[in-house]
Amino acid sequence: MSVGFHELAEAPPRAMSSRLEGELLEVSLGPQHPSTHGVFRMNVALDGEIVRKLKPVFGYLHRNHEQIGENTSYLGSMPYTDRLDYFCSMTNNWAYALSVEKLAGIEVPERAEYLRVILAELTRLQNHTSLLGFLLSDMGAWGTPLMYAFREREKILDLFESLSGSRMMCDYMRFGGCRVDAGADWMERAEKVADGFPRFLDEFEKLITSNEILLARTQEVGRISAELAVNAGLTGPILRACGVNYDLRKVDGYGIYPRFKFRVPLGDHGDCYDRLMMRALEMRESLGILQQAFAQIPAGPVMNPKVKIRAFKPPAGEAYGRIEGPKGELGFYLISDGSANPYRYRVRPPSFINLTVLEDMCLGHTVADVMVILGSIDIVMGEVDR
């Protein structure tokens, strides 16, 4: 496969197809397809096995999140944010809470900030592990890596469940803090999970990173330049895989992230392998942040007592708040007209905008590579279509 790519890179594209005289074959991949991560569809024009054109088709999970958000109260949208990117409900909650806090000028108590960091980093861990599992499964490593990944994910979901009452749809954060406090036993368990995680990472990296098939399927596949990545609005690990140093935890320093020491891993080539390794390296950094947070977390209230979250009416105005979600920049843009419902409720979905360059990444590769490239972008349809 890698040989084919090099040929293609050196010769003009038509030279490849001279062997395969004929018309382009149009194939519809999805919306029901085992590797499209949900109900995503691509219309692909193929020359033999080579992709010559690719048009994504959206909307198969468009469930009107923004319209419902405008018809419900500020608090009422919080559980809906869980269902945006259903892997990462905690970070979605945080992004929404942050935007409302900006809109109304609300302070968050210290302990709640620490809890948010802990939960967001745990979310990042389980998102990236699941992603690696799915990505390998797209490459044909059917079952095993995904089972390993889900085994670790379950440990984190158990933590979420005992804290918030739900495995996936946590609905845990509120504007002005968090819903309930975490007890000492929860902290102990969370620390244990975090301490055990590097063992899994070592094992997983040993399993995957030097695997010859994985290297052949990912290196030099789906390359993208840093200029295009910035212009197309890519964010998150995909942007950093191109070598652009832009992590909102550093740039915006929202919450209490400036207090933690961590590095931002950067890639070189912007190919699938770099994107994959970005996740593996980010997980190590997340574990570092977790350790610091567990050591520093103070006692105190987790909710700002001045905030009336029921019948909440922020002053008229608008605010855009954003955080570094596991998939990229997750933002909420709210326009308030002073009433109990937002006038405009907009989600900036990272995985939707990251798909802008899907065609650029796939052109000239084989149709089998499309699945790997799509897997490396890390999409969740709940967020793509909202």
């Binding site: 959206f58 809109l103 609005g233 890519l234 832009y246 740039v251 002053p315 008229a316 105005g317 802008t356």
Partner: protein, 223 residues
């Protein structure tokens, strides 16, 4: 980053003829925005992106907003002669603001790590097929988001390379995120409705009695 007033002044200087207005934002977020006239949008945005001090190379978020026609009643003090004496009395004054559609772009700089600069474009009215310039030629990231706004709000973007519906199917004719859109009456309202749902439930059962299914069952019984 320099102040919005300064950005406005410099942009107006760089693009002759452009009119830029600062839209204040009263909320604690303090994110005021620049309203740019649609004739000079591309030039102004290119200035914002290429200017060495700004370098807003990253268009993060594109939002459509629908503003309905509004009437605002304010009390105004008017001086009138009453019984030969000049008095100041309060009179209600009704002002009509016509509705419009709006797109909001949040621009950041990845190179210089600052932002946001919020820019807005407004249409003249809410008619079907209103136009605005597309920013996709400058920022690829606007491509899908502008398609989404076209789909849900019905703003046509000049210069967009591939303006089609994105979320709804191609045969769909409405623009469902507009504030005056009514969704098809396709659900049986719950047994204990209240508030707004109750109002809709009443309409539902008055307008479409055939959908409650009773006739179907009755028809079955008779053969």
């Amino acid at each position: 980053m320099e102040s919005l007033e300064r950005i406005k002044a410099r942009a107006e200087e760089a693009v002759p003829g452009a009119t830029i207005k600062i839209i204040p934002n009263a909320s604690p977020a303090n994110q005021p925005s620049l309203l740019i006239d649609s004739d000079h949008t591309l030039a102004v945005v290119q200035f914002l992106r290429n200017d060495a001090a700004l370098r807003l190379d990253f268009c993060s978020n594109v939002t459509g907003v629908d503003w309905l026609d509004r009437t605002v009643t304010t009390k105004v003090k008017v001086k009138t002669l009453i019984d030969g004496e000049e008095k100041e009395i309060e009179q209600p004054q009704v002002e009509n603001f016509p509705g419009y559609l709006e797109t909001v772009y949040h621009l950041y700089s990845i190179a210089l790590k600052h932002g946001p600069v919020v820019i807005r474009l407004r249409t003249a009215d809410r008619a079907d097929g209103v136009h605005l310039p597309s920013l996709t030629p400058v920022y690829r990231s606007a491509e899908f988001q502008e398609r989404e706004i076209f789909d849900l709000y019905g703003i046509r973007f000049h210069g967009h390379p591939d303006l089609r519906r994105i979320l709804m199917w191609d045969e769909f004719v409405d623009h469902p995120m507009r504030k005056d859109y009514r969704e098809p009456d396709d659900y049986e309202y719950e047994p204990t409705p209240h508030d707004e749902v109750l109002e809709r439930a009443k309409e539902h059962y008055a307008a479409r009695p055939q959908l409650d299914g009773a006739e179907n069952l009755a028809a079955d019984e008779h053969g």
